[in-house]
């Protein structure tokens, strides 16, 4: 039976972006299977139930987000869901735009309308999702110690660069 977690809906808050995932227990006690996708007001990306390793996806998101905050000349990052990908674009001051794309010729196909939100709101969504995923992994004995430590470290780094009044 897969374990499923979603970001809880806060009263009065309009959710624009939600990381959704499930973990499936395997014989060797490590997370080998699971699903990970993103829900927006317009739909699911790449699709509801996209098979992926949730830990690795969130490691990507925290790393890319940290790089954008920490390194002034980096304003874009790609998170792969091969052959789909999310492009993070922070070229607008204080905001981040997520583009939901599929590699194609001659240019990528846009699979969902892009979402723009305040940069630190996005950081909070990534960190909340990371905390829940870590908690679920640890309570259910999912994931390798190295992956868990890596996500935790990435989250600490991301939290360290967010201004105190925004965290």
């Amino acid at each position: 039976m897969p374990l499923t977690r979603e970001r809880p809906e806060l009263k009065g808050e309009r959710l624009m972006l939600q990381f959704r995932w499930s973990l499936t227990k395997t014989e060797d006690n490590y997370e080998r299977q699971g699903t990970f996708w993103i829900s927006t007001d317009s739909g699911d990306f790449p699709c509801r139930g996209w098979k992926a390793f949730p830990l690795r996806k969130l490691i990507y998101f925290t790393s890319q987000t940290y790089d954008i905050v920490h390194t002034p000349y980096i304003t874009k990052g790609n998170i792969p869901f091969d052959p789909y990908y999310v492009r993070l674009d922070s070229s607008q001051q204080g905001r981040v735009t997520l583009h939901f794309l599929r590699s194609y010729l001659p240019q990528p196909l846009e699979k969902l309308p892009s979402v723009t939100l305040p940069f630190f709101d996005f950081c909070r969504i990534v960190l909340e999702a990371g905390s829940e995923l870590l908690e679920t992994n640890r309570s259910g004995d999912f994931g390798t110690p190295m992956e868990l430590q890596l996500l935790e470290r990435r989250m600490e780094l991301l939290l360290s660069v967010i201004p105190k009044d925004q965290a």
């Binding site: 699709c47 139930g49 996209w50 091969d82 052959p83 590699s103 010729l105 001659p106 196909l109 699979k111």
Partner: protein, 168 residues
């Protein structure tokens, strides 16, 4: 624009394809591994397609009533008559075994008369019937797709920056 090109993740099945305002084709997982089923519930038509994993790429011409469909990592491309859901033609494509270099696209010429099917190792220009009018070996690891016109397709060898244009 009478041609629609889109993709469907296999994990996201079942999905609906709206081929016109009144007609819906349901895409559902097939009975066999890596197969999908195109199902027209209203007309009681079905068509099972094998070798469909990860991500489905489809292209549909409203005028001709033909769907060209394949998958991101598959070797087969199907030409389907949408009015009957019968397979008109199947092409077998050369694909790179290493899926990390996967590249597969179905494109249509601006005049919508021909279809270009491109993989990492080959391209084919076909009619909507599935008849091949031109095909060549390429290497998309070094060649970059440049353009598709009504009568030509161009690639650039990125190591030499030379452009290769094939006319049809």
């Amino acid at each position: 624009m009478n041609v629609i090109i889109d993709t469907i993740p296999v994990d996201g099945l079942p999905q609906k394809i709206f081929v016109d305002k009144k007609r819906v084709i349901l895409v559902i997982p097939g009975a066999n591994a890596n197969s999908i089923l195109l199902h027209d519930e209203a007309r009681h038509l079905r068509c099972e397609l094998s070798d469909m994993s990860v991500d489905i790429i489809w292209c549909y011409t409203v005028v001709g009533g033909v769907m060209v469909i394949g998958s991101a990592y598959g070797n087969h491309v199907y030409f389907i008559d949408i009015s009957t859901l019968k397979i008109k033609q199947v092409l077998q494509l050369l694909r790179e075994e290493d899926q990390s270099t996967s590249m597969f696209a179905i494109l249509v010429t601006p005049d919508e008369k021909h279809v270009a099917i491109i993989s990492e190792l080959t391209f084919a220009i076909t009619k909507w019937s599935g008849d091949i009018i031109l095909d060549f070996r390429i290497n998309m690891l070094s060649d970059r797709f440049l353009s598709l016109t009504n009568h030509s397709i161009s690639f650039e060898d990125q190591s030499t920056e030379k452009t290769f244009t094939y006319f049809f």
